[in-house]
């Protein structure tokens, strides 16, 4: 059987990295204990940071709003347990810097805010649903954390025809979405229904990678009679990226500099759909997520349901601590995640996983000169020329890098992964992007 796919990318079949999912794919999601102190950063999503509305000493309930959205592309942030606010100050963020956060001392009772209620299906209109999703602070749970309500508010001249649901989870080690589709499939399908009504679209396609046979079977079973198609995707990284998913499932190309919205397509993650269901059915805002704790450096790899703001150290402790000496901590997947400088930083919306590696798990090699093999070009899922762009970036020719469409790069990391000269291509392209944005800011 041929699966839906795209050109480029790294086929993970027969690769060491596929086995990386074995450690946790069979592990049921366990709730991680709530720590004494929760550090909730104000900038967890793409867009303007939220503005705190609580002060030190305030008592808060689980689900209560503690920060207002800073702009349209921003979301409010909620207390993730009940307790007392003990600080509103910069704390270490997973980006490696101190950023404003609200610190809550848990009272151990974990009481819900009684004002949170269901949105009755009689009241469902695209506007009320969008409003509810925004109030619940829901952002894309696939890692980029783009506010969901913005993706539900299409421009008038771009009618949305297709809703794609992303269940591919193509990165090595991650099994959070896989477990969610198995254990909470009803909630996911309910969320898809709500998203479909909020967008008023007919066509809905769920894409799941072929290595999740059990999840595919479960989803197929549940969508019967709901006019939702479940399509099987080839096991290939980065199958779950928006542009790539549109290419694989619809055989259409997102224009350079454009968004899937320009083609009348909107994409949401399965975890986002589950969060939407919670927000509409129970009024529960986004306060927790499933995190895969894995990697060769952890004693017991697990899938955990973690409250936002839990320091990463707590997750490691709950998984029986590190195995051996740890030399690298990655928050998120190995391809697109963020290296951490310490385990003090808290879990945020975009924490797909916490991966620990020892010194011998990561062979390191100094970067050499480009040998012009062209592998980065062959593998780029967006058909860019990474080596050429990197050369221009290093010469300071950001104008030429832009002419070669560096701004379209989604930083999937395929080029860097395959480069036989070990060049840090993604970092160079990122450097060019930052340079171009700085130049645009000046002019």
């Amino acid at each position: 059987m041929t699966y839906k796919s795209f050109t480029g990318g790294i086929p993970l079949v027969d690769s060491k990295l596929v086995d990386s999912k074995l450690a946790t794919r069979g592990a049921a999601v366990e709730p991680c204990p709530i720590p004494d102190q929760l550090i909730i950063p104000m900038s967890q999503h793409i867009g303007v940071p939220a503005q705190p509305i609580v002060t030190v000493g305030d008592l808060v309930l689980k689900g209560q709003t503690i920060a207002q959205a800073g702009a349209f592309i921003s979301v409010p942030i909620h207390a993730t347990t009940s307790g007392r606010v003990i600080a509103v100050e910069p704390r270490l963020h997973s980006l490696g810097k101190d950023l404003l956060a609200v610190v809550i001392e848990a009272d151990g009772e974990d009481r819900w805010d009684p004002d949170l209620t269901e949105l009755k299906s009689a009241q469902w209109t695209p506007d009320t649903l969008r409003q509810r999703i925004r109030e619940a602070g829901i952002v894309g749970m696939g890692g980029a954390c783009f506010p969901t309500h913005v993706k539900l508010a299409p421009a008038d001249n771009k009618p949305i025809e297709t809703l794609l649901i992303n269940g591919s989870e193509c990165e090595p080690f991650l099994t959070a979405d896989h477990r969610l589709m198995l254990e909470q499939a009803e909630k996911v399908v309910d969320g898809i229904d709500i998203l479909r009504q909020a967008l008023a679209v007919k066509q809905v396609i769920v894409g799941i990678e072929a290595n999740k046979k059990d999840a595919i079977a479960r989803m197929k079973q549940l969508v019967v009679g709901r006019d939702i198609a479940v399509k099987i995707l080839a096991v290939k990284y980065p199958q779950g990226a928006e542009q790539v998913l549109v290419d694989a499932l619809l055989e259409r190309q997102v224009p350079s500099g454009g968004l899937p919205m320009d083609l009348g397509v909107v994409i949401h993650n399965v975890a986002t759909a589950a969060a939407v269901s919670d927000a509409v059915r129970f009024g529960h805002p986004l306060i927790e997520r499933v995190v895969t704790v894995s990697g060769p450096g952890i004693t017991t790899a697990k899938n955990l349901l973690v409250r936002i703001g839990t320091p990463m150290q707590k997750l490691v402790d709950f998984c029986d601590g590190p195995r051996g000496e740890i030399s690298k901590i990655i928050m998120g997947g190995v391809m697109t995640g963020q290296s951490q400088i310490s385990l003090e930083a808290p879990v945020i919306y975009g924490t797909l996983a916490l991966l620990l590696f020892g010194a011998n798990d990561l062979p390191q090699q100094d970067a050499g000169p480009c040998i012009r093999c062209g592998r980065c070009v062959a593998v780029c899922p967006l058909h860019l020329l990474p080596a050429t762009i990197a050369d221009y970036a290093m010469l300071g020719r950001f104008d030429m890098a832009q002419a070669y469409h560096v701004m379209d790069c989604m930083e999937c990391g395929c080029c860097t992964y395959l480069c036989p000269a070990f060049r840090p291509l993604v970092q160079t392209l990122r450097y060019a992007k930052a340079g171009i944005l700085a130049q645009q800011g000046r002019s």
């Binding site: 810097k97 400088i341 160079t428 450097y431």
Partner: protein, 293 residues
Amino acid sequence: MLTAVLGLGQIGLVAAIALGWAAKKFAVDVDERETKIRAILPGANCGGCGFPSCSSYASAVSAGTAPINLCRSGGSAVVENIAHIMRMKVETSTAQIAVVLCQGDDRKATLKYHYLGLHDCNAANQIAGGPKLCPSGCLGLGSCVAVCAFSAIAITAHGLAVVNRERCTGCGKCVAICPRHVIRLAPATATIHVLCNSHDKGGVVRTYCKVGCIGCGLCRKAVPSAYVLDRFLAHIDYSHAALAVLAADAIAICPNQCIVDFTKNYPDDRLLHPLPAIPDRPALVTDDEKAQR
């Protein structure tokens, strides 16, 4: 035979008249001052004046659209010569050279993380605010070395940029490229500097650097005329050259040894890699020399 001679002669005559007319008609007026200025300028095309090359700066000066004192690399001699050519007066300005205001190399400053990426300070600074805990110290990856047209900056064996005071012409390229603004231009005559760039409070500075300025103000108490204290960071008041000499009296007082006299063998020569040779540049040939050849 005769026909051939006459024929060729006629062609030659017509061509000569045509060329003569064309030379008059399409003559480009070259300001002779431009040629002279171009010959005087150093020819390194360092860009310190803000023009892409020495030659474009020369034409801007001769056209009167650029001031005559922009060539910092050439120093006062070049400015005086240009002034003479342009029949203008020289406004005296002191020569400036670059100073790296940091001593926190890998033995003295604490690292935030082990950096493995692109060998470029600006790229490293984008990752979690740079691999050093100090938010304003030298990263030692050599972006300044790469832009210096005069091979006047080197990175020590312990990862710190150091300016060679003889070679530096004060063009300011390194100042512009440094993501942490740790390189400044200071008068060439000033040899005593406070080598720190951190405006953090003393307690914070102590957590990440053994030689950072903690803003205690002892230097300012000892020699009030030579030191300025600005947001927990002391620096020399360069505006009074005569007073700056007095700054030496505070060197021994500084608890963190931030104040350094460059005349006293700084930095330790053993730490410096030999500076790269200055690349050969073709000498500019003046019109007079061309005529002689």
